[in-house]
């Protein structure tokens, strides 16, 4: 796990082996992954395949035996995080907004994420999807090169979710995102690269598929979308 | 033997030189010679031999005279069968370099340690009254387990048992090169009976000979314990229980105990001093420690040998 020559990828991992203590077969056997620098990418695969585990390894939160190198700070956020209870949402967000510039970003994000009317409530008084969004916003205010979003929008409705993804791509063109989601259409439409995680028995365990990387200005055609979706489903 | 009667005997305090006779009676087989198998139970501040005797938890016990009189005033069915100390060992220790006490009058203006609720409080108050010293003319200091305030010279006079702590504390002061002396209330005219042996009126009525045998063995034990030729052996026996006190000090304690128990002569060991008891009762009445006379003579049962 050394930071050798500056990698072109946001995160590189080679030769990863991992199993949970007590588990029979390894979860990852000789896995290698290169998350491209910049862009909105997906980590995709069926439930229980190891996405969250891999995400935590990529973020350096779980120790592993592979070689890992990163370009810049990597943050990992997940959908069941909570905020401290003694502050209102608004107070908390203002407190964690890193730089002065972040304050204006914050206002934009609050508006685009549709949480501006919740700001003087506590975290426990929000709906699940509101909690998801508030949590994501505070990570966006931080100093990161790569942000791993583990089901960070799982409880948000599709319309809002699309608006959020597009906002991210507009506002953070130079950062790398790794988005974990179970929505194949969304992933196919909005992601640049879809990293498909498969069982440890399959070789290679990881397949990278090109997504359509849609933005507000560049919607994608129904046919291309269907083709990509099929490609993803077949590769899994 | 199996025929031996099982007797529980509750002391007032821990086993030390003040219980020499009790230990000797047991260890030298004097109880056994009377057909008694006696368990000697150490006492303490939370122990109350009168309660235990009334409840039948103990057959005999040691209690101070003020406890006995207070118990009688509240109807406790107990009797006194022997008096262990002919002279009350309660004294106040002081440093003569700092404090001069030649008579009770000299207490005026002193800081005096007192155990509130203890018999030293009653004795002290009587002393003050007899010498016409008002409460405001002395400073009473509440005494607790440790002697730090006396050591730190915050208190002039500190109450203790002359024959027990008196020796130990004296030794410490001597080692530090400090002079010390004792103020004895007896000399200032206050006679207040100390420890005595009690049993229940019921046991005395139902098994007078058992009480007789116990008292006899106990008196013999005390006579043996107080005999100078037996002193070394007595000291060793006590040391078995009282390991914290070095043997030389126990010997010294024994010598002092002898003066208080075999007083004026060894023949007086165990003697119940009716006059002293009556004076004790009078003091307690006077000090409002009891609200009515108990006619102490009726509770005293000196048993002829």
């Amino acid at each position: 796990m050394d930071e050798g020559e500056r990698p072109r990828a946001a995160i590189t991992i080679d030769n990863l082996h991992f199993s949970y203590p007590g588990a029979g077969r390894p979860l990852f056997a000789n896995l290698s992954l290169h998350l491209p620098a910049g862009g909105f990418h997906a980590l995709f695969g069926p439930s229980g395949i190891g996405k969250s585990t891999l995400a935590r390894i990529l973020a350096g939160l779980t120790a592993c035996s592979g070689r890992r190198s990163t370009a810049g700070p990597v943050l990992y956020t997940y959908n069941t995080e909570r905020l401290p209870g003694w502050l209102t949402i608004g107070e908390h967000l203002r407190q964690v907004a890193a730089a002065p510039a972040a304050t204006t970003t914050l206002a934009t994000l609050e508006d685009r994420f549709g949480i501006d009317h919740c700001l003087n409530r506590r975290f426990g008084q929000l709906s699940l999807g509101q909690q998801n969004r508030v949590n994501l916003i505070r990570y966006l205010l931080q100093d990161f090169q790569t942000l791993i979003m583990d089901e960070s929008l799982a409880n948000v409705d599709e319309g809002t979710r699309e608006r959020i993804i597009i906002t991210l791509k507009e506002h953070y063109p130079d950062r790398s995102f790794l988005y974990i989601s179970h929505n194949v259409l969304e992933v196919a439409r909005f992601c640049r690269q879809i990293i498909l995680l498969r069982e440890a028995a399959k070789e290679p365990q990881i397949v990278a598929i090109e997504g359509l990387d849609a933005t507000a200005g560049h919607p994608v055609s129904q046919t291309r979308l269907e083709r990509t979706v099929l490609e993803i489903l077949h590769a899994g | 033997t199996a025929a031996d009667e099982q007797i529980a005997y509750r002391l007032k305090w821990l086993i030390n030189a003040s219980t020499a006779g009790d230990v000797v009676a047991e260890a030298e087989g004097l109880f056994a010679a009377e057909g008694l198998q006696v368990a000697i139970l150490p006492g303490g501040p939370e122990r109350d031999a009168i309660r235990e005797v009334e409840l039948g938890r103990a057959h005999f016990g040691v209690a101070s005279a003020d406890q006995v009189i207070r118990g009688l005033a509240k109807g406790a069915p107990i009797v006194v069968v022997a008096q262990l100390f002919q002279v009350n060992p309660l004294n106040w220790i002081y440093r003569p370099e700092q404090t001069t006490i030649s008579s009770g009058d000299d207490l005026r203006g002193k800081v005096i340690g007192v155990t509130y609720g203890g018999n030293d409080e009653t004795i002290l108050r009587t002393l003050l009254q007899r010498h016409h010293i008002g409460e405001e003319e002395v400073q009473l200091f509440s005494v607790r387990h440790d002697y730090t305030p006396f050591y730190q010279k915050k208190v002039d006079l500190w109450p203790l048992y002359r024959n027990a702590q008196g020796v130990i504390i004296g030794e410490k002061l001597r080692a530090a090169g400090e002079a010390f002396a004792f103020f004895n209330p007896d000399q200032a005219g206050v006679r207040f009976v100390a420890n005595s042996v009690i049993t229940s009126a019921k046991l005395l009525a139902e098994k007078p000979e058992l009480v007789q045998r116990f008292t006899t063995a106990l008196r013999r034990g005390w006579q043996l314990a107080m005999a100078p030729e037996h002193a070394e052996r007595t000291a060793e026996l006590i040391h078995r229980f009282d390991r914290e006190t070095p043997l030389p000090l126990i010997r010294e304690q024994l010598a002092l105990t002898r003066e208080l128990v075999a007083h004026p002569s060894p023949a007086d060991i165990g003697r119940i001093d009716l006059v002293a008891w009556q004076e004790t009762e009078a003091i307690m009445l006077e000090q409002k420690q009891i609200d009515r006379p108990v006619d102490i003579a009726t509770a005293l049962h000196p048993l002829a040998e």
Binding site: Y76, T77, G85 | E54, G71
Partner: protein
């Protein structure tokens, strides 16, 4: 809550008195072993006012001692929950001090602090702080991962913040223990007065004890019980209000 506590105490107290009296009359015990109803009534009328004065004196110390215990437990708990060598040493010190019975350390306390309020307070605190400390440590050493993750990841995990998070998340538990420890403050004060003071209800109990005066002791225990129930009831009510104000009902699933 308060009225409840008082009623419960009265019920328990008179049950206990009833038990003692039943024992007395069944076994035919003298007033010395267990005082009769008349003796108890006399003791009450004679001593209640005096003891009430003593008790109020003690209560002052108990309140102050309780407050200081809370501060001490919070302070030591916070320091001790740090996983540094110093934190570990402070924790060891807090535990070691607690191991020693007050009576054994009393001489040292008197040498250090002399007589008077300081010693009395210190002893109260020594009796009262430990359960609070244990709770504080147990709360402060257990991570609240789903809240702390963000602060750790973003390098914001100041130590004070971590303490705040863990205390806040366990507020209900803390309030229960803080209110409950009120009784320990009371017992600490009484013990202190027992070994150290020449004032307060503990001192009065000691005097009664020396004279084997159970009737007086029962009067004192009655007053102690009443006032502790009140103190406890007030704290519990206050705790419930705090919880209600600070913690809002959780949002929908």
């Amino acid at each position: 809550m308060l009225a409840n506590r008082l009623l419960q105490f009265l019920l328990l107290y008179f049950l206990a008195i009833g038990g003692l009296l039943a024992m007395k009359y069944l076994l035919g015990l003298s007033d010395y072993v267990i005082p009769g109803v008349a003796a108890m009534a006399t003791a009450f009328t004679e001593m209640a006012a005096i003891y009430l004065g003593d008790l109020l004196d003690s209560l002052r110390v108990a309140l102050l001692g309780h407050a200081l215990s809370l501060l001490l437990a919070a302070g030591v708990g916070i320091l001790a929950s740090r996983s540094t060598a110093l934190g570990s040493l402070i924790r060891a010190a807090a535990y070691t001090v607690q191991t020693y019975p007050i009576v054994a350390v009393a001489p040292i306390i008197f040498i250090l602090l002399g007589d008077g309020l300081a010693s009395r307070l210190l002893i109260t605190i020594l009796v009262c702080y430990f359960p609070l400390l244990l709770t504080t440590i147990s709360v402060l050493t257990e991570p609240v991962a789903d809240i702390e993750h963000f602060f750790i990841s973003t390098g914001r995990n100041r130590w004070s913040l971590q303490v705040a998070i863990r205390l806040y998340e366990n507020m209900g538990k803390l309030i229960t223990v803080v209110a409950g420890s009120a009784t320990l403050a009371m017992v600490g004060t009484i013990v202190a007065e027992f070994v150290a003071a020449d004032a307060g209800i503990g001192f009065s109990i000691r005097k009664a004890l020396y004279q084997s005066d159970l009737a007086h002791i029962l009067v004192a225990l009655f007053l102690v019980g009443i006032w502790t129930s009140i103190y406890l009831g007030v704290l519990e009510t206050a705790g419930a209000l705090i919880e209600k104000k600070w913690r809002n009902p959780a949002g929908g699933g």
